[in-house]
Amino acid sequence: MEISPDAWILYEWRGWQLNATVVFTWGVMAILVLGSWAVTARLSEGETVSRWQVMLEVIVGRIRDQIDDMGSGDPERYLPFIGTLFLFIASANILTIVPCYQPPTGSLSTTAALAICVLIAVPVFSIGQRGLAGYLKTYVRPTPLMLPFNIVSEASRTLALAIRLYGNVMSGTVIVGILISIAPFFFPILLQLLGLLTGLIQAYIFAILAMVYIASASRDRASEQDNQTQAPNNQGD
């Protein structure tokens, strides 16, 4: 039994192997890009709005509200990154209802790549908000004694982020595979429904955790400003 779509080679040309993970990732990317391009090319502000535009507005608005709820200043700043993570993982997991499709998030390489994106995004957003010295200062907080623990936690949470998503999606695929061999037709469908729910929740968790990590590395300055000026914390952006 395959436990990863990496091993499923779809196309081979002169030693270049194209596996299912890459192909399905491109498919999801194409659906997201072409879909949103087709909708945003015909945006209207009039009285009649197409239903697709309403759908996009609802999705983007909800994501922005969720980021705003985390209380880390201007949500517009984080919306592109967090929203892309959520939409990619969610659509990659939801597309499992399509036959012959294997979710690319069920491969450790995809989830590791996403987790590394978060690992890089944390210092990028933090330096953008607080400057290099301010970012490095988060490592010796609350005391310099905590420096090694902070570094270890940075690495371990990246690993946990990758393994969590991979394990959840992969377990759905594997359990359905096992159930098909021992109790076909009915129970696999129930488990697949559960897998859809788990996939959506994991997409949400991944985005929320990425937001929590970014917020915890760039929040201190905002709260300091709050204390000093008693002003809303979006003036430094």
Partner: protein, 92 residues
Amino acid sequence: MDPDTWIAIISIVTAGLTIAIGSIGPAIAEGRAASQALQSLAQQPDASDTITRTLFVSLAMIESTAIYCFVVSMILIFANPFTTLVAQTGGG
């Protein structure tokens, strides 16, 4: 018995033990988290939005412990690195 069989036996037993013991803690923790969340929902229905969101996030965090055990047992059964090691070195 040759080393390959021993590795298979130990891997299978360990995979079973891993998932069996490793799911006890998360199961208890998830039950406690869910019951506490239900209690707070009954006491403060107005805060249901925040409670539900926090519950989902914490359930996923708790569950990831069980998922790590699951990944380890899957590796032991389907992608055990030591079986290929024995095959390469000629079976000890």
